[in-house]
C-alpha cells in the first residue's frame, strides 16, 4: 500500500469527523418531511438516474 492511499484514508477519516457534528445537528434539527415532500425529491432523482443511464449508453 503506497503512501497516497494511506494519506487518502487519513484525509477521509478526518473529513468524517469534521462532518459528524453537522450531521448530528441536522438529524436533530431538520423538520420531518411528509410523503409529498419526499415525492418532490424522488421525482427529480429518478430523472437524474435516467439521465445518467442515457449518458452511459452514449459513451
Amino acid at each position: 500500500m503506497d503512501w497516497l492511499k494511506i494519506a487518502s484514508a487519513v484525509f477521509l477519516i478526518a473529513m468524517f469527523f469534521m462532518i459528524l457534528p453537522s450531521a448530528r445537528r441536522m438529524v436533530k434539527e431538520s423538520p420531518k418531511g411528509t410523503s409529498s415532500d419526499w415525492m418532490g425529491f424522488v421525482l427529480p432523482m429518478a430523472v437524474v438516474v435516467l439521465f445518467i443511464i442515457l449518458l452511459i449508453a452514449l459513451v
Binding site: M1, I19, A23, G40, M45, V48, I56, V59
Partner: protein, 220 residues
C-alpha cells in the same frame, strides 16, 4: 402606515433573496471558469498525483478553516477563488488519465454535470419547494459514503467504488436541491458559503460521473 410596512417587508425579503441568488450564481460561474483554467494548467503541466493531492488537501483545509472566518467579509472572495482553484488543480492527474484513454468521456461528464446542476437548480427555483427536511438524510448519506470510501481504499472492490460514485451523485444532487431551497427560504443568507456548497456538489458530481462513465465504457 402599518399596512405599508407589512407589504414592504416581504418585498424587501424577496429582493434580498433575488440578490443572494444572483450573486451566488455569478460567483459560482466565475469560480467554475477559474477552476477549469487551473485544471487545464494542471493537465498541461502533467502534475504528479502527490502534488495534485496536496493541492486538494490545501483547498479542503481552506474550506474548513479559512472560509468560515472570512465568508462574511470581502476577504471571503479571494479565499473561495483559492479553494476552487486548488480543487480544480487537484483534478489534473485524473483528467490527464481520462483524456489519454477516451477524451469524449470528459466532455460527456462535463456536459452531464452541467445539465444535472441546471436541471436541479431550475427545479428548486421554479417549484420553490422547501427541501430543508433533507438535511439529516444528506449529511448521514455523506458519512456513509465516506465510510464506504475508506473501506474500499483497503478492500479495492470495483463494484463498491461504482456504488459509492452513484451514491455520491445522488447525495450531491440532493444537496443542490437543499442548498438552492435554503437560499430561497432563508436558511442560507451568505452568497460565498452558498457558492462553496454548490461548487463542492458540482465537483463531486463531475468526478463521480467521470468514474462511472469510465467504468461503463471499459476505460477505467
Amino acid at each position: 402606515m402599518q399596512m405599508n410596512s407589512a407589504v414592504a417587508r416581504p418585498q424587501e425579503a424577496i429582493l434580498q433573496t433575488n440578490k443572494l441568488i444572483k450573486n451566488t450564481y455569478m460567483l459560482l460561474s466565475m469560480t467554475l471558469i477559474f477552476s477549469g483554467v487551473t485544471a487545464f494548467f494542471s493537465v498541461a503541466l502533467n502534475v504528479s498525483h502527490g502534488i495534485a493531492f496536496a493541492a486538494s488537501l490545501i483547498g479542503i483545509g481552506l474550506l474548513w478553516f479559512a472560509l468560515p472566518r472570512t465568508q462574511n467579509s470581502a476577504a471571503g472572495v479571494p479565499v473561495i477563488f483559492a479553494i476552487t482553484g486548488l480543487l480544480g488543480f487537484g483534478l489534473g492527474p485524473m483528467l490527464s488519465y481520462y483524456l489519454s484513454v477516451n477524451p469524449s468521456i470528459v466532455m460527456v461528464a462535463m456536459g452531464g454535470t452541467g445539465a444535472i446542476f441546471l436541471g436541479l437548480s431550475g427545479y428548486a427555483l421554479s417549484t420553490r419547494k422547501d427541501f430543508s427536511f433533507m438535511g439529516g438524510f444528506i449529511f448521514v448519506g455523506m458519512l456513509v459514503a465516506i465510510g464506504a470510501m475508506v473501506a474500499n481504499i483497503f478492500l479495492g472492490i470495483p463494484a463498491l467504488a461504482l456504488a459509492v460514485s452513484a451514491a455520491v451523485i445522488m447525495i450531491m444532487s440532493g444537496f443542490i436541491l437543499f442548498q438552492t431551497s435554503a437560499m430561497i427560504h432563508g436558511g442560507e443568507t451568505n452568497y460565498i458559503s452558498a457558492t462553496a456548497g454548490l461548487f463542492i456538489s458540482i465537483l463531486n458530481i463531475f468526478t463521480s460521473l467521470l468514474h462511472i462513465l469510465g467504468a461503463f465504457s471499459g476505460d477505467d
